[in-house]
Each structure stands twice: as structure tokens, then as C-alpha cells.
């Protein structure tokens, strides 16, 4: 069993114990809530993994390496950041896609730039931000956040190279 599985199962058990100790049926509500989310996102998950399957089958290694490979420097970081902003959907859609791109030969720097950019700058979630906080706030937050994926990618690239 790998670290990810171990950490997740441990965390789930700890939270489950906390919920049970509340003694107010929190744990059954939580399980139901998780199930509802899973059912709602299942179609998306299946479609996302079909994309992952095709990307693997089509062997895009050459394409990925030329745009996002370890040797692409600043271009790779910029492409990674832009791709992260455009990736649609929640974590269960985006993370498998990024994993596939990484396994197809993307460099560590561009990959981390993409993860960070999707996390903080995803345009799809900005469309939720605008109606609640207004464009002035979005513009301020995005302009402060824009350098972050590039910096994270750069540091990762340097760490990896050294």
C-alpha cells in the first residue's frame, strides 16, 4: 500500500471517530453526504478517466515534452500556468489529467506550475467569484496570484536540477 492510500484511510478513520464521538448521528450524515457527492460527480469522473485513457493510448510523449518537458524553461512554466487556468472541473477531473501529463514527460516545474495555477487561478472558479465578490476583488486577487505558479514551478525546477 502506498503513502497516499495510507494517509487517506487514516484521515478518514480519525474524522469518522470524531463524528461518531459527537453522538448525534454526524457519521451517518457524513457518509450520506460523501455518497451524494460521489454519485453527483460519477459521470464527470468517468468522462475524465476516459480522457486519461485516450491520452495514454495516443502516446503524446513527444508533444508533451516539446511544450512542457524539463528542458522547456520559461516557456514550459508559462504553458503550464496557462493550461492550469483553463483546465475545467473539480479536483477529481483535473488531477488525473495532470498526472497523465506528468507521466507523459512533463517536467517537474511545469507540472507544479499547472497544479498551482489550476488551484488558485482556474477561470472556471473565477466565474463563481465574480457574482459574489465583484470584478474589482477578482482582478486584485488574480494579479497578486499570477506570479505564484511561475515561482512555484521555478523553485521546483531548480530543486530538481540540483
Amino acid at each position: 500500500m502506498d503513502l497516499a492510500t495510507l494517509v487517506l484511510i487514516l484521515l478518514a478513520l480519525i474524522l469518522l471517530a470524531v463524528a461518531i464521538r459527537r453522538g448525534d448521528g454526524s457519521h451517518t450524515r457524513a457518509i450520506r453526504q460523501g455518497w451524494v457527492t460521489l454519485r453527483r460527480t460519477l459521470p464527470l469522473l468517468i468522462v475524465a478517466f476516459i480522457i486519461v485513457g485516450y491520452v495514454n493510448a495516443l502516446e503524446p510523449q513527444a508533444l508533451v515534452r516539446s511544450w512542457l518537458g524539463p528542458g522547456t524553461g520559461l516557456t514550459g512554466l508559462l504553458v503550464g500556468t496557462a493550461a492550469g487556468m483553463l483546465l475545467p472541473g473539480g479536483p477529481y477531473v483535473v488531477f488525473p489529467l495532470i498526472a497523465t501529463i506528468y507521466q507523459s514527460g512533463a517536467g517537474l516545474g511545469p507540472t507544479l506550475a499547472m497544479i498551482t495555477s489550476w488551484s488558485t487561478l482556474a477561470l472556471l472558479s473565477v466565474s463563481f467569484e465574480l457574482p459574489f465578490l465583484g470584478w474589482r476583488f477578482s482582478a486584485l486577487r488574480l494579479s497578486l496570484g499570477l506570479p505564484i505558479p511561475l515561482l512555484v514551478g521555478l523553485v521546483a525546477h531548480l530543486l530538481h536540477a540540483s
Binding site: 502506498d2 503513502l3 497516499a4 492510500t5 487517506l8 484521515l11 478518514a12 470524531v18 463524528a19 450524515r29 457524513a30 453526504q33 460523501g34 457527492t37 460521489l38 459521470p43 464527470l44 469522473l45 468517468i46 468522462v47 478517466f49 476516459i50 480522457i51 485513457g53 485516450y54 491520452v55 493510448a57 495516443l58 475545467p88 472541473g89 473539480g90 479536483p91 477529481y92 477531473v93 488531477f95 488525473p96 498526472a99 506528468y102 517537474l108 507540472t111 497544479i115 498551482t116 488558485t120 472556471l124 472558479s125 463563481f128 467569484e129 465574480l130 457574482p131 459574489f132 465578490l133 470584478w135 474589482r136 476583488f137 486577487r141 497578486l144 505564484i148 512555484v152 523553485v155 521546483a156
Partner: protein
């Protein structure tokens, strides 16, 4: 009559599937087109146990951390203490953008400052305890730990920077918030 909202994400992703299937068919016939489907199914089956744990954690966090808790916590907080609290609240609050942006909107309405709002949204994006399980499950522990470690200081840092640079524009931001 209930109007069904079209989920554009799935429409978009399905279109990509069709394009990729077409490319595969052109390149390797029906065999390659089926290989894509088969590989996708295999990878999905591989991560299923992890995904189940991740969904369970998300459900538990949703029940254990309520919206009222966060709003009470951050009501009209500002200053460096408010920014740190906002980071913590952002890390703990479960749910997607359709959940945390309405909360941020109500925080703005109840008097939270620019730094607090930026810290809250950024911590949700980078520290989220409900997003991290998916990241672990789907990207693996190496990429996840590296990403988390490298962005650990970002939420408070961005909050402080926003407060220092744009703290005084909060009035105008509140004025123009579409719901006021």
C-alpha cells in the same frame, strides 16, 4: 416545471472525449479507439479505493465544519490575526467554489477586510483539507507534498500583501459587490 441546468463541464469534457476517440480511430482503427476506453477504465478502477476514502473525508468535513462556524469566526475580523484565522477557516471549509464564494461574499458583507478575503480564498485553494485527499489519491504523494510544501506560505503572505497594498479599497469593493 423544474428547469434543468446544463452542466457545461461535462458537455465540454464529452466533446474532448469524442475528439480524442476520433483521433485514435484515425490513427489505429477501432482497436486503438477501444484501447483508450479500456485504459481509462483500468486507471479508474486502480484509484477507486483512494477515491472512496477521499469522498468519505469530504463528507465528514462537510458535516464537522459548518458555515455558521466559519462566519461567526471571521465575522468582522481584520488585521494580521484575522488573516491567520481566515487561512485556517479556508483550509477547513469544505465544498467547491459554489460553496466558499457565497461564504466569502457574506464575509465581505459583514465587514471582513481585503486581506482576510484574499487569505480565505487562497487558503481554500492551497490548504484545503477536502481537496488534498483528492490530490494525494490522484497525483500521488510526491507531487502533492512538494506542491503543498512550496505553497505553504502563500495564503498568509498573499493576505498580508493584499491588505498592505489594497486594504483601503475595501469600501469600493463592498460598494460594487453585485448583491449590494
Amino acid at each position: 416545471m423544474q428547469k434543468r441546468k446544463i452542466d457545461w463541464t461535462i458537455v465540454f469534457l464529452s466533446a474532448i472525449v469524442l475528439i480524442l476517440a476520433f483521433i485514435a480511430w484515425r490513427r489505429g482503427g477501432v482497436a486503438l479507439a477501444l484501447t483508450g476506453l479500456k485504459l481509462g477504465g483500468e486507471i479508474l478502477l486502480n484509484v477507486t479505493p483512494l477515491l472512496l476514502a477521499a469522498f468519505l473525508i469530504a463528507g465528514l468535513a462537510q458535516v464537522l465544519v459548518s458555515r455558521q462556524m466559519v462566519e461567526q469566526w471571521l465575522g468582522s475580523s481584520s488585521g494580521w490575526r484575522g488573516i491567520l484565522l481566515a487561512c485556517l477557516a479556508g483550509a477547513l471549509i469544505p465544498g467547491g467554489p459554489y460553496v466558499y464564494y457565497p461564504i466569502a461574499g457574506s464575509l465581505l458583507g459583514s465587514g471582513a477586510g481585503v486581506g482576510v478575503l484574499v487569505a480565505f480564498v487562497t487558503a481554500k485553494n492551497l490548504w484545503s483539507i477536502t481537496r488534498l485527499p483528492y490530490e494525494f489519491a490522484l497525483l500521488g504523494s510526491y507531487l502533492t507534498l512538494l506542491r503543498f510544501g512550496l505553497t505553504l506560505v502563500v495564503p498568509p503572505l498573499l493576505g498580508f500583501a493584499a491588505e498592505a497594498l489594497f486594504g483601503r479599497t475595501i469600501g469600493r469593493i463592498r460598494e460594487m459587490a453585485p448583491w449590494t
